[in-house]
Amino acid sequence: MLLREVEYAKPGSVTEALELLAANDGARALAGGQTLINVMKARAASPDMLVDLNGLRELKGIELAGDGTLTIGAMTTYTEIMRSAEAKARPILGEVCATIADVQVRNRGTIGGNVCSNDPTNHLPPLMVAVGATMTVLGAGGTREVPAEEFFLGVYMTAAGPGELLTKISIPAGKKDGFAAVTLGAEGTCIANAAATVNGSVRVALGCVDAVPVVVTADSPDGVADAVRAAGLEPPSDVHASAEYRLHLATVVATRAAEEAASR
């Protein structure tokens, strides 16, 4: 409640949005606002300007290419992904989106906002890393393609730097995916989560244990727990889980995600 003073701009195009972001050091892109607005209520952060990306058609939509590659606009909401026939090409996407928060949040919250805020408890950063997504970042310098694994730089920090925008996310075809989490109550905040993909070997991306998703690989789901233990994680402690407990949960959810992936 009661935000600090902020300017509001509603650009008519992505180009205009980029100009606004570049021209104002304190400007921040406003996607679904389901995280940013709450941080602003706490006045823990207070951008000087909000550049509202809602309504920019260029950033919306889901396309399925002939080779099965999905391209999802950054401003596509969780609800849109859940309901999209195209998105079923990678079923895990809709399944995970359906467990994020609640209807109201899913109606506003976007895939781009979720990955760009990169809160360690978010669902999508580990999922994007596991499925080997490619993020398209647009800036004054033009377009960059960043593999999800390199996209996440820190808490609330990504390769989409000041004056840049994540415009779309490409996800290769695939079905053998899994996602597992221990949450605070049913479908609540994640205490530990993991996304897995089986493509010959098992690739698991762990959330909640570090500033960015941590990737571990193994030949089979049975090897995942050891791989997690070998990763030398130092998870944060908080009111819901000590570092020790979170580390243990990481081994469990990683294994469960891998088993689910292998079973499909």
Binding site: D102, G185, S242
Partner: protein, 806 residues
């Protein structure tokens, strides 16, 4: 007793008495609330009002070395500020309930010289808009000199511990020794003495969805404040505020309509209300204060956190409970806002539901650098009942006995009712063993063996647990003298007025401040039965206004008492009105005696010749507007005020002996949990709640209270905790980290009821609604059953359950 009880499995309501009472009629309150037309405190606006924002302490413990409000006051649109220094100059410290040393602390409406918890209000800023008030509050410069923080009550009395209140000479606020029966003899004759090192009941509250708030106006001409506020116990707030502000209580007019949940948490907003009053006078404009969720979590009404240490239980090998000894340590937080009443309130349920006669409890309450505690649904009894239930399950575990058998062996029996407890309380009625049978039947207890196996096959651990509790209602405020012999409180009361208006409207005014308990509906049911009309013909005024003169010192909605005190007052006032109608009709019909008359169809008539009929409309019109020629000695106003006063004596302060509450509603809950041993994650897969609150005026409303108490208990047992780090930062300051149950968290629920009417109350009802935290106890017991590990904490998040299994 047993004969007058009937058993049913809700939701099918029981017909407990003829007439409207006993029927689940639809609530009169609902229409406005369903259409968004309720009036909650933040909905009230006044011309020129200023919005108040509090500057709060970021430190758990620090000296305030300087405060500079000049920058804030310089902002255009800022109306003014208030500091602790001003408060100290304008008011006296709040009256303290405690005897020494707690009596010596100096509690003001804003921090003076020192802050004692994170979130404590230091300065109030008032501005033209909500946003501006918060902006300006960021410009208030407060210099602090940090002090070490005390966050663990167990450290409070150790040498070198930081001291919150120098005036009290330490962190001890209150202590008292309670001892009844012959404890030493009991332990001498015991087959076994079971020792329990430490049990911990955690800090949480009911987090009503609406936080606190007020719109306060000051009428300069008559020097009187009108407080539109959602405070749920205006009688208490007035008693605290008047002396501090050095004004008579009638200068403080409390008005409220709809309140968005209270659960006890809205009793102690008097400090904030004083700030609003002082600013309304200082700035000569209405002051609007809305508390936001994070403010509420940081600073309002946490439930009492309590440790039980060195517990010893005297038992026989067959599981018979003889007595117990324990030391209770209560964490009051930074201020005694309603405390140390928690130090005696627990004694209303001293033996829990059990027949042990030899009990010794050493109660100590200390201050810590955390938010002040205040009543929370199940206030202080819940903590103690959790203790007695834990003791029973731990005893059963130690003796290798079935917890069901241990309970049945020790429950107070129906034939013992009314039962006098070792400390002189009188349990009015009940049949706990039958309630347990019903609860076990509802949960399918006999089939659980198979479910255990099935769970095991899926790698899960199934466990079942019982929580058997009492909801003691209608306080005898005389118990406060056990805390402080100098206090001049005793007994209890509530007020209602019922009148016939000029067109025959039946208008009821209550002294209570309901927050969803359906008072308008149940009051109308009681009136309709007496006046032989429909509840639709009865207008019960919504909310509370102390100018209606329909309140008394203990008026309010708290401590499970409306069905006794509130409805007792309604019944008394309505019977007065009925008798006046008989008198009036007798006179109008020309001296017809009362016994020849009867009420019917919204009027009164002569039994023998029903055509001689006087509708209420005529009665109202005659007395109010057409009274020429009435007999001079006709003493009729058709406006009847009745004060219900329960039959209480002042307890024996020396022996700490006496009847502390009038009624004892009972709850028996059974929870079935399924634990994932790999993670500690668990779910409640089945739940049954059986309640006995005597006659139920509206069974559906009663069941609603049972459901609500159950949901809150589930949240408290699994997730909800006000957790602090070593610096005194609250780590669960809002619903993001303080997880309350959502729809998907709720288990299947079966409710049941039996009705053991209270022999002591006007309607055979018992106060109910708090529920004694039965769900917390049941879930703890179920986790113990599933894991095979004794549960020593009331709060069991997944991590703790996982640790138990390591």
């Amino acid at each position: 007793m047993t004969e007058s009880s009937t058993t049913t499995v809700a939701p099918a309501p029981v017909e407990v008495q003829k007439g409207w009472g006993g029927q689940s009629i639809k609530r009169k309150e609902d229409k406005r609330l369903l259409q968004g037309e309720g009036v909650f405190v933040d909905d009230i606006k006044r011309h020129g009002m200023g919005y108040l924002h509090f500057v709060r302490s970021p430190y758990a413990h620090a000296h305030i070395t300087s405060i500079d409000v000049s920058a804030a006051e310089a902002v255009e649109g800022v109306y003014g500020t208030l500091t602790g220094e001003e408060v100290a100059a304008l008011t006296d410290p709040f009256f303290q309930i405690s005897s020494a040393p707690g009596a010596n602390i100096k509690d003001y409406a804003l921090a003076v010289g020192k802050v004692r918890y994170v979130g404590e209000a230091v300065v109030a800023v008032v501005a033209e808009t909500r946003e501006l008030a918060r902006d300006a509050s960021e410009l208030v410069e407060v210099e602090y000199e940090p002090l070490p923080a005390l966050v663990d009550a167990r450290e409070a009395q150790k040498p070198g511990a930081p001291v919150l209140h120098d005036d009290a000479g330490g962190n001890l606020m209150w202590s008292g020794l309670y001892s009844w029966g012959d404890v030493d003899a009991a332990f001498a004759e015991a087959d076994r003495v079971i020792a329990i090192d430490e049990l911990h009941f955690h800090r949480f509250n009911s987090t009503p969805l609406e936080c606190d708030g007020a719109l306060v106006e000051f009428n300069r001409g008559v020097e009187q404040w009108t407080l539109h506020t959602n405070n749920q116990f205006p009688g208490f707030a007035a008693i605290m505020m008047g002396p501090a502000m050095k004004v008579g209580l009638d200068k403080l007019r409390f008005v409220t309509q709809d309140i968005g949940g209270g659960f006890g948490n809205k009793i102690t907003s008097h400090p904030q209300l004083v700030v609003c009053c002082l600013l309304a006078r200082k700035l000569n404009r209405p002051i609007q204060w809305t508390e936001w969720r994070t403010d509420f979590h940081m600073s309002m009404s946490h439930g009492n956190e309590r440790w039980f240490s060195d517990t010893k239980v005297a038992v026989s090998n067959d599981g018979t409970l003889l007595g117990f000894k324990t030391k209770a340590l209560d964490d009051a937080g930074a201020w005694l806002r309603y405390e140390p009443l928690g130090g005696v309130i627990w004694a209303q349920v001293t033996p829990g539901m059990y027949r042990w006669r030899h009990i010794e409890l050493e109660f100590t309450q200390v201050a810590t650098n955390k938010a002040p505690v205040s009543p929370n649904r199940g206030y202080s009894r819940m903590q103690h009942l959790w203790f007695t239930e834990r003791v029973v399950d731990i005893v059963a575990h130690e003796l290798g006995l079935d917890p069901v058998e241990v309970r049945k062996r020790n429950y107070i029996r129906a034939e013992d009712m009314p039962y006098e407890t070792p400390n002189g309380c009188v349990y009015d009625s009940g049949d706990y063993a039958r309630m347990l049978d019903l609860a076990l039947e509802l949960i399918g207890y006999d089939g659980l063996g198979a479910r255990r196996e099935q769970a095991k096959a899926n790698g899960k651990l199934l466990g079942v647990g019982i929580g058997s509790t009492l909801d003691s209602g209608t306080n005898n405020f005389g118990q406060s003298r056990m805390i402080n012999p100098e206090l001049q409180f005793s007994g209890n009361n509530e007020v209602a007025t019922v009148k016939l208006d000029i067109f025959g409207e039946i208008v009821v005014t209550l002294g209570t401040t309901p927050q969803g308990q359906g008072h308008e509906t149940t009051a109308a049911q009681v009136v309709a039965d007496i006046l032989k009309c429909s509840p639709d013909d009865v207008h019960v005024r919504a909310g509370h206004d102390s100018y209606w003169n329909s309140h008394a010192g203990f008026s309010g909605t708290y401590a499970s008492q409306f069905a006794v005190t509130g409805l007792g007052a309604v019944k008394g006032a309505t019977e007065m009105l009925r008798d006046e109608i008989f008198k009036l009709a007798g006179a109008v019909f020309g001296g017809v005696p009362a016994e020849a008359l009867e009420l019917a169809d919204g009027g009164i008539r002569i039994k023998e010749s029903p055509d001689a009929f006087l509708p209420f409309m005529a009665c109202g019109a005659i007395i109010n507007a057409n009274n020429a020629g009435l007999p001079e000695d006709l003493d009729v106003t058709l406006n009847c005020r009745y004060v219900y006063r329960p039959p209480f004596q002042v307890p024996d302060i020396e022996k700490k002996f006496g009847n502390l509450t009038l009624t004892y509603a009972a709850q028996i809950h059974v929870a079935v949990v399924e634990v994932d041993p790999e993670t500690g994650y668990y779910e409640i897969v089945d739940y049954a709640a059986v309640d006995d609150c005597g006659n139920r005026i509206n069974p559906q409303i009663v069941e609603g209270q049972v459901m609500g108490a159950t949901a809150q208990a589930i949240g408290a047992a699994m997730h909800e905790v006000f957790s602090y780090d070593e610096d005194g930062n609250l780590l669960t300051p809002n619903f993001y980290d303080y997880h309350v149950p959502h729809a998907l968290d709720m288990p299947p629920l079966a409710t049941g009821a039996i009705e053991s009417p209270s022999p002591f109350t006007p309607l055979g009802t018992k106060g109910m609604g708090e529920g004694g935290g039965a769900g917390i106890h049941a879930i703890c017991a179920a986790i113990q059953d599933a894991t095979g590990v004794q549960v020593k904490q009331s709060h069991n998040p997944y991590q703790r359950v996982w640790q138990m299994l390591q």
